[in-house]
Symmetry: C2
Subunit: 261 residues, 2 copies
């Protein structure tokens, strides 16, 4: 299972992270060095990123949605585009089709939005410490009226809505109510294709910024969620939960519940 890293590999990998901020370069190199010592299978992890055109990625994700749904669409657009630029292994052997499992919030369970699941996986493939970028992506998704990318050749015109959650269920239902369309209508599919494109575009932008050393988070945890977390999350007096998802979409009667206690 050991894979030797040659001098040429080291130069290639180091070159790929050379455009990142000093911190990320250091993290990347540290990860590579640690893996080499361990002789792990994924010895060049994280994989090298290259700057992408976010509009091109959005179009690819829109097309990808109709080939393999939301998770596949977002993941393949980003990682497949890097693969096209880099060529060869390890990109060539990656089982992109595996990512179809995230469709409809994983196997149609309507849990995590598949576009977010795929985009988070793509971020984690390229970034040693992916959490700040995932926080930014998920925070943006909960708050912004989406989709905010219109593909060049759309099937329908699509209304925006605010998901107020990272879950497929709320995201879809809030849109259905706003647009007056059914959950299994072709318009809803088109809306999720636009969402996939929008998520892939935003993810590409934050990846580009991250590797250019210009990433700045603009979507912190909202004040109402931070208030709940004050008691319920890490270090709080109750500390009986974790997470950063919006609270009130599932707990709308929070004030009432608190008064009853």
């Amino acid at each position: 299972m050991t894979k030797k890293i040659t001098r040429r590999d080291a130069v290639r990998i180091f070159g790929a992270v050379a455009g990142t901020s000093l911190l990320n370069s250091a993290l990347g190199f540290k990860a590579i060095a640690a893996e080499t010592a361990k002789g792990a299978t994924d010895s060049s992890f994280p994989w090298p990123y290259t700057k992408l055109d976010s509009d091109q990625i959005a179009e690819r994700a829109y097309k990808g949605y109709y080939e393999g749904h939301c998770m596949y669409g977002a993941f393949e657009a980003i990682v497949g585009a890097v693969a096209d630029k880099k060529g060869g292994e390890p990109f060539k052997s990656f089982p992109y089709k595996m990512m179809k499992y995230g469709a409809g919030g994983v196997g149609d369970w309507a849990s995590l939005c598949g576009a977010l699941n795929g985009a988070a996986a793509a971020i984690a493939l390229f970034v040693a410490e992916p959490k700040p970028l995932i926080d930014e992506l998920f925070g943006w998704y909960e708050k912004e009226p989406l989709p905010n990318y219109k593909p060049k050749n759309p099937k329908f015109d699509i209304q925006t809505s605010v998901a107020a959650s990272v879950l497929c269920h709320q995201s879809v239902t809030n849109w259905c109510k706003k647009a007056g369309k059914k959950a299994f209508s072709p318009e809803r599919s088109e809306r999720c294709a636009w969402i996939t494109a929008s998520v892939a575009k935003f993810t590409t932008e934050i990846l580009n910024h991250h590797f250019a050393g210009t990433f700045k988070a603009a979507y912190p945890i909202p004040a109402d969620v931070a208030k709940c977390r004050g008691c319920h999350d890490k270090g709080g007096s109750i500390e009986n939960t974790r997470g950063k998802m919006g609270c009130t979409s599932c707990h709308p009667n929070t004030d009432k519940t608190h008064k009853e206690l």
Copy 2:
């Protein structure tokens, strides 16, 4: 990007699926043939599975949790064990560490349970039509008192609880309430390590059954969820949602809400 399949490859791949049911063999071979024609990058998808010992996988997942958290633990235990038996590519190049992103319901957002996210990905890597197996796994997870696997050398003794949801948030919070432990306590980490082991074990069992042609679903959609879906899901009069998650953990006042309408 084209990868030719040699006669030897075809024999190897066909041999790997030969132990499956007739349907799965047919599906697998059809997928391979289709990919060859298209010249896609992941030309031997889905990847070949081999029967695993579910207790060994549970132990590996328990250990993996402490190396890379829940999603990595479940995925690496199953796919890594197949990789150890098969050796070489494409397993060798797979970026297992990418799966760390699912920790704490993806980047600590407490959305989909990471053990389920990783196990679903593993199922989708080996099974062309993964939904029935994902349905079984997710249905089991919502209903059963878990964890139901105790590792050989546990750090603590762990109480069981019923998640009633596939989401990290409910799963963790329900356990915290039952066990009287905090969400960031070492006992909660140990509980999630046992959960990762339990999920990996159950997933291995259903994969083994699937490829032996003996898989039978035992966790259909519960009656209360089916009742809600009757109006709200595909083909229903309202059809404003999708999904199979338990409804009442987020909508406890369903009867009241319906009366008010």
